[in-house]
Amino acid sequence: MKKSSLPFVIIGAVLLISIGVSIWLFNQGPAADSNTNTSKTTPTPSGPIPPGAEPAHTKGSAAAKVTLEEFGDFQCPPCGLLHPDIKKIEAEYGDRIFFTFRNNPLSRIHQYAYDAARAAEAAGMQGKYWEMHDKLYTNQGTWSVAANPRAEFENYASLIGLNVDQFRNDMIGQMTSSRVSLDMQRATAMGVTGTPTVFLNGKQLSAEDTNAERMRVLINEALKK
């Protein structure tokens, strides 16, 4: 082999190895999954799905015929728009539905979404998850553009009666981080790519169906079955 061509051969070999490793890594299944499914980049709810953070944040009755599971991002404007619709559905159906909210912060486009998810989880550690959840959505336009959103979160924590020092510590603690991650792992495994994404009895709703009016129709149909 000519000396001058050898470095190019080595560079080419490293490039090929890198591409090979990338493909191998990309086709690896979810952490707990070994070799059950080859189309792993777009898994469906029929595959092995991690449970998400336990216990989950839920409303309604676990025995209800209809389950709604929302994957949301507190900084995402469509999630903020869906929030009053979900509140209406919760109020109308009460224990006839079982609603679960899961974190799926899209941090790459929403700078403070991850912190907001942790703020809600930190409030949950003091038993006031839903109060913080509502505060974050109703004040989305304020903290999303604040220079220091953490100060806003602490203000909300104070308003809903949390121990702010504990809230501050919990927000940066391992527990909140872990819960958000577990929800995100579930979102990934269920093929969630955007927010809000709502599953009704395990079936993903289309964007057109993700509003109070259409969800009401679909819930009524599911209740009749």
Partner: protein, 154 residues
């Protein structure tokens, strides 16, 4: 055989010593570290830190991407370029040394900024980012070492 314009026989110039081969090896570590993070990014997978505990905070932050492009992919390209340049220098393309030095200095500046972000803005550390920082700083020290050796042997 006709040599490229930027080819200079290794035997005719200053001695290369161990520095450039070491950069070749060290840059491979950075390359596979960046490759791992790039793939995780495009798989929308959560990366867990086993040592430092701050991967999620750092890799999900607004500083982890430039628009749709993950910073890890930029690092991947940079490490591959460092690897290629260092390897070619080892094979006698001595005039590429200035390019390698420039690139490594640029990467070191970026590393300094990212270390500042981890320490003072995010207040969390990602072990894979620390490994990448260590690789870049090692490359910087090695390329400086090579320059000093060249000057003293010239």
């Amino acid at each position: 055989m006709k040599r490229p314009a930027n080819y200079k026989n290794a035997n005719s110039g200053p001695r290369l010593g161990i520095f450039y081969p070491l950069i070749v090896v060290v840059s491979l570590v950075g390359l596979f570290d960046a490759l791992f993070l790039t793939v995780k990014h495009f798989r929308h997978e959560v990366v867990r830190c086993t040592v430092t505990g701050g991967c999620e905070e750092v890799l999900n932050s607004a500083y982890a991407s430039i628009g749709p492009i993950p910073l890890a992919a930029v690092g991947l390209l940079a490490y591959f370029t460092v690897f290629s340049l260092a390897l070619m220098i080892c094979f006698g393309y001595a005039r590429l040394r200035a390019h390698l030095l420039g690139l490594i200095v640029l990467m070191s500046l970026m590393t300094g900024f990212l270390m500042y972000v981890q320490a003072f803005v995010l207040k969390h550390y990602c072990q894979y980012c620390l490994l990448s920082a260590a690789v870049t700083i090692s490359c910087l020290l090695l390329v400086i070492g090579a320059r000093i050796q060249n000057r003293s042997s010239a």
